[in-house]
C-alpha cells in the first residue's frame, strides 16, 4: 500500500514539475518576444522590421520605447505673447508674455504649481510649431516646385492656416486667453490674439551673450487672428 502511495506521490510531483517547466519555457518565450518587439520599435525602417510594422504600432500604443533625451537639443527658446485690445478704445493694448512670468524663481526643490501650466502652454505651442514646420516642408516638396505659381502658393498657405487654426493645440492656446485676462483684470469684452516667437540660442563661441538678452534675435512663428474672449 505504501509503495503505491509513494509511486502516486512521485508521479504527481513529476507532473507538477513538468507543468512548471512548461510554464517556465512559455514565460521565457514571452520574454524574448517582448524584447524583440521592443528592439524592433527602436530601430529605423529596415527589411526585418517592415513586415512587423503593423504589430509594432500595436505594441507602441502601450509599451512605447523612444529614448532621445535632448537629441537633438532645441536650439531656440520660445516666447508666447497674448495681445489684448479694447474694442472701444483702440489705443488700449496690453501685451503679456506668459513663459517669463511662469518661470520666475524657477529653482525650487518641490515641483512648482506653475510647472503644469508651463508644460501645457509649451506643449501646445510646440505642436503648432511642429505643424508649421511640417507643412512648410510639405509645401516646398520638389513635385510641387514646377507649379509654384503665386496662386498655388497662396492656396497652400490658406490650407496651412485652416489646418493649424482647427487644431487642438491652437484651441487650447485660444481658450487660455480668457484665464489670462481674468488673472490680469482685463475686461472680458476685449479681443485677443496670440503670437508665438522663437529666440535663437547664442552659438557656443558667443556664450557670453547669454547674459545680454537684448542681443538675441526673435523670429515670429505663428500669429493668430483676433478672437473674442
Amino acid at each position: 500500500m505504501n509503495s503505491v502511495n509513494q509511486e502516486t506521490n512521485i508521479a504527481t510531483k513529476s507532473r507538477s514539475l513538468l507543468t512548471r517547466y512548461f510554464g517556465c519555457v512559455l514565460l521565457i518565450l514571452g520574454f524574448c518576444a517582448y524584447w524583440s518587439f521592443a528592439l524592433a520599435t527602436l530601430s529605423t525602417a529596415n527589411p526585418i522590421v517592415l513586415p512587423l510594422h503593423k504589430f509594432v504600432k500595436i505594441f507602441d500604443e502601450v509599451f512605447y520605447q523612444g529614448w532621445y533625451f535632448f537629441s537633438p537639443p532645441p536650439k531656440v527658446n520660445i516666447r508666447l505673447y497674448y495681445i489684448f485690445k479694447n474694442p472701444n478704445d483702440k489705443n488700449q493694448i496690453k501685451e503679456i508674455e506668459v513663459f517669463q512670468d511662469l518661470r520666475k524663481n524657477q529653482f525650487s526643490i518641490i515641483q512648482k504649481r506653475d510647472y503644469v501650466l508651463d508644460c501645457i502652454l509649451n506643449g501646445a505651442f510646440e505642436q503648432v510649431r511642429k505643424k508649421v514646420r511640417n507643412l512648410i516642408i510639405k509645401d516646398n516638396a520638389p513635385q510641387k516646385k514646377h507649379q509654384n505659381s503665386k496662386q498655388t502658393a497662396n492656396r497652400s498657405l490658406r490650407i496651412i492656416r485652416v489646418e493649424i487654426d482647427h487644431s487642438k493645440s491652437v484651441s487650447a492656446l485660444v481658450k487660455y486667453a480668457r484665464t489670462l485676462a481674468i488673472k490680469n483684470k482685463i475686461p472680458l469684452d476685449s479681443v485677443a490674439k496670440f503670437v508665438g516667437t522663437e529666440r535663437g540660442m547664442p552659438l557656443y563661441s558667443k556664450r557670453s551673450d547669454l547674459f545680454l538678452s537684448q542681443k538675441i534675435e526673435e523670429r515670429k512663428i505663428f500669429e493668430s487672428d483676433d478672437f473674442p474672449l
Binding site: Y34, W67, P73, Q106, N122, G123, M201, R207
Partner: protein, 326 residues
C-alpha cells in the same frame, strides 16, 4: 568514428541534466527581492508626489471641459472612451491614489501593481502635455513590477519564499526586464546622440543646459561658460550612455557606471529642473544590486550610524552637571 561507440546516452543525460539545472535556476528564489520591494515602495511614493503636487491642476489637465483637453475621443486602441474618465476625474484619481497607497503598504500583491500600471497608462493617455521621459520609464517599470513578487520585504502582508515556483521565474524575468530597460534606454539615447551633429560636435550639453524651460537658475548659464563643463561634459554624457548597456553587466565596472549615473542625474536634478525624471532613474539603479549587496550596504550604514552615535553620550556626559559634581 564508429557510431556504435558514440556515447549517445551520456550526451542525452548531460543535456537533460543541463536543461534540468537551468529550469531549476529559473524556478528557484530571486536574489533581488529587497531591490524589488524598495523599487515598489519608491515608485508608489513617486506617483503620490507627482499627482499630489499637481492636484490643484487636476481639473485643468483631466476634466472634460478644460481648455487643455488633450485626449482623443477614445484611448487604448479606441476601446475605452475618454469621457469615462474625464467626466469623473476626481473619482478616477482617488481610486488611482488609493491603489498606489495599497501598493506602498504591500497589500493586494501583484494584482494591485498591475492595477496601478493600468491607471498610469490611462492617466498618461488622457493628458500628455506634462509628461517627460521619466513617465515612460515609470509606466514600463510598473509593468515589469506587476510580474515580480516584490512583497517579500517592506510589506504589511509579506509573501512567502517558495523554493521551486513559477512566481520565482516571473520575478527573475521581471528583474532582467528592469535591467534591460535601463540598458536599452541609455544605449538608445547614446546612439541617437552620436547621430546628432550638435552632440557629436560637442555642443549638445551646452544647448540642453541653456534652454530656458529647463535651466533652473543663472548658475546653469554660468556653468556652461567653462569648456570643461560644456564640451567635456557633452562627451562624458555620450560615452557614459553608450557604454552603460555593456559595462553594467560586469561586477567590476557596474558600481562605477552606476555611481557616474547617480552624479549625472543629480546634475540634471540641480541644473535642469527635471526632478521627478532624475530621481526615478537614480532609484531604478537599485535593481542592479542583489540582496547580499544591499544587506551589506545596510550593515555598513548601521555601523556608521553606531560609530557616529558613539560620540553623542560622551558629549551628553560632559554636559551633565551631576556627572561633574561626582
Amino acid at each position: 568514428m564508429n557510431l556504435m561507440t558514440f556515447p549517445f546516452n551520456q550526451l542525452k543525460r548531460l543535456l537533460i541534466n543541463g536543461l534540468n539545472s537551468t529550469a531549476i535556476w529559473f524556478l528557484s528564489p530571486c536574489r533581488h527581492s529587497l531591490g524589488l520591494s524598495m523599487l515598489r515602495v519608491y515608485i508608489g511614493f513617486h506617483i503620490l508626489y507627482k499627482y499630489l503636487s499637481i492636484w490643484p491642476y487636476i481639473d485643468t489637465l483631466f476634466s472634460n471641459d478644460s481648455f487643455a483637453r488633450y485626449a482623443p475621443e477614445s484611448i487604448i486602441y479606441g476601446f475605452i472612451p475618454s469621457r469615462l474618465f474625464l467626466e469623473h476625474d476626481i473619482l478616477f484619481f482617488w481610486a488611482y491614489l488609493s491603489l498606489v497607497s495599497l501598493m506602498i503598504l504591500g497589500v493586494g500583491k501583484r494584482g494591485v501593481v498591475f492595477g496601478v500600471f493600468m491607471f498610469t497608462v490611462f492617466s498618461q493617455k488622457l493628458n500628455g502635455y506634462w509628461l517627460d521621459g521619466g513617465d515612460n520609464l515609470l509606466k514600463l517599470s510598473l509593468f515589469y513590477l506587476s510580474w515580480a513578487d516584490s512583497f517579500q520585504c517592506l510589506a504589511l502582508v509579506r509573501s512567502k519564499i517558495i523554493r521551486i515556483s513559477l512566481v520565482n521565474c516571473c520575478s527573475k524575468l521581471a528583474v532582467a526586464s528592469l535591467m534591460l530597460q535601463l540598458a536599452l534606454t541609455y544605449s538608445s539615447s547614446g546612439l541617437t546622440k552620436v547621430h546628432t551633429s550638435t552632440w557629436y560636435s560637442g555642443y549638445g550639453l551646452y544647448y540642453s543646459m541653456i534652454n530656458e524651460r529647463f535651466a533652473t537658475s543663472y548658475l546653469s548659464f554660468k556653468l556652461v561658460q567653462f569648456p570643461l563643463v560644456a564640451i567635456a561634459g557633452n562627451y562624458f554624457v555620450m560615452f557614459w550612455e553608450l557604454t552603460f548597456g555593456i559595462l553594467v553587466w560586469f561586477r567590476r565596472t557596474r558600481y562605477v557606471v552606476l555611481l557616474l549615473g547617480v552624479f549625472l542625474h543629480l546634475g540634471i536634478f540641480l541644473f535642469m529642473g527635471i526632478r521627478s525624471f532624475a530621481l526615478l532613474f537614480i532609484a531604478s539603479y537599485i535593481i542592479f544590486l542583489d540582496d547580499e549587496t544591499l544587506r551589506g550596504m545596510q550593515n555598513s550604514l548601521m555601523r556608521l550610524i553606531d560609530y557616529l552615535c558613539s560620540f553623542y553620550p560622551t558629549i551628553v556626559c560632559n554636559q551633565n552637571p551631576l556627572k561633574k559634581a561626582q
